[in-house]
Amino acid sequence: MDTDMERKLIKKVKKGNQKAFKKLYDLYSGYALRTAFAMTKSEADASDIVQETFIRVYRSIDSFEEAKPFKPWFYRILINETHRLLKKRADSRNIYMDVEASEFLHPASSIEGDYEDLGEALDQLDHHHKTVVVLKYLHGFSEKEIASILDENQNTIKSRLYKGRQKLKQVLGAIEHE
């Protein structure tokens, strides 16, 4: 969808048009669910995050400035919701990891070999590094776009990506030598 079409769609959402909101949902929910799932490794949590994100989007769409691109604004809400839920889950993390991580790392669809190691390595990253890696590789966002989404300096994002990659290499190296 081109920017002009998106701008018109958002204008309609601002006016309370539910059909336009559903269209916006259809456009953005797929990758939003993927992002939330990649971050949390739980379908239930991913669904909760995306629901909460779209509810927030609808309720605060009036504060969105139409002159600016919608995508970074949307993903900022999504990532904030994700971090909020991860923080909430932190206390019960051990239980959560036991049940869900094994499903993520060894899923029924059987993603084997290097992918399995990659999943394990990604799981070793803290949420700051994991967020930039997911935004970069799942979406193909540029460093500038990620900086805008996370409201951070572009150099900070560069550094997080570098450290994230280094950490992945380290973990993958260690796995290979096991």
Binding site: Y25, L33, T35, E43, S47, Y115, Y137, L138
Partner: protein, 244 residues
């Protein structure tokens, strides 16, 4: 580096494929939370709703199209919306109600604490809920769908009418807010000769992608510009053409 990038992309996409299947179920919950939440209403409002429902049923016997349009319009829009007004630097928050005239194919949220919508055959008028005294000039916002004409023709007609009545055109330009279109503002008084009750007329001309053309005419007086004028414009932000 590219191999690493490719592998990570593939991994993340494959790993998250199943998440896309959650779309429909998640939407059901969103819809439930946003659009079907029961609202607590005072008793008189419940009675009014029942009366309105009876009226709608009665209408359906006379006009099937009217019934169909009303139903779909009410399905598409929230019944009530919070509208923020900024009047002379003061913020004011009011609930505005959805008003839809099925014959004229548009919707607007009206702040019913101050205004009411008078439905007409060719056009509707938003007027103050409490009538102003006889010493005040008319205050109204008329919404009229136009067929068989174009934006340019309508603008020309408006300008001609203003000139014929010796109105002074203050502004005549294209706009993007409250919607894409054109605006003409005029005053009956010459510059420097305006009184508190000098009549002002403001016209909006807008045409949507499906060539549905509307002319919205606001009438008020100089002293009411920051009051009724601003309130009309704020309500107009919710104006939308409904193409059935």
């Amino acid at each position: 580096m590219n191999k690493e990038k490719g592998t990570m992309e593939e991994f993340l996409k494959k790993q998250t494929d199943s998440a896309e299947e959650l779309k429909d179920a998640a939407w059901v919950n969103i819809e439930k939370e946003l659009f079907t939440k029961p609202k607590k209403r005072p008793l008189w409002m419940k009675a009014a709703t029942i009366a309105a429902a009876i009226l709608l049923i009665a209408m359906s016997f006379s006009t099937n199209r009217g019934q169909a349009v009303i139903q779909s319009v009410w399905d598409l829009f929230e019944e009530e919306k919070t509208v923020e007004f900024e009047l002379e630097g003061q913020r004011e928050v009011n609930d505005a109600k959805l008003n839809a005239n099925p014959d004229l194919d548009y919707v607007i949220y009206v702040d019913e604490s101050r205004y009411r919508l008078e439905e007409g055959g060719q056009s509707d008028k938003v007027v103050p809920a409490v009538e102003l005294g006889p010493e005040y000039p008319e205050v109204s916002m008329e919404i009229e769908p136009i067929t068989g004409s174009s934006s340019d023709q309508e603008l020309e007609t408006i300008r001609q009418s203003l000139e014929d009545r010796d109105y002074r055109i203050i502004k005549n330009t294209e706009i993007v807010k409250p919607f894409e279109g054109s605006i003409v503002i005029a005053s009956e008084a010459e510059e420097g000769e305006q009184q508190w009750n000098s009549v002002m007329e403001k016209y909006y001309v807008t045409e949507d992608d499906n060539n549905a053309l509307f002319v919205i005419k606001q009438k008020y007086f100089l002293e009411a510009e920051e009051g009724h004028g601003v309130r009309f414009d704020t309500m107009l932000e919710s104006f939308e053409v409904v193409n059935e």
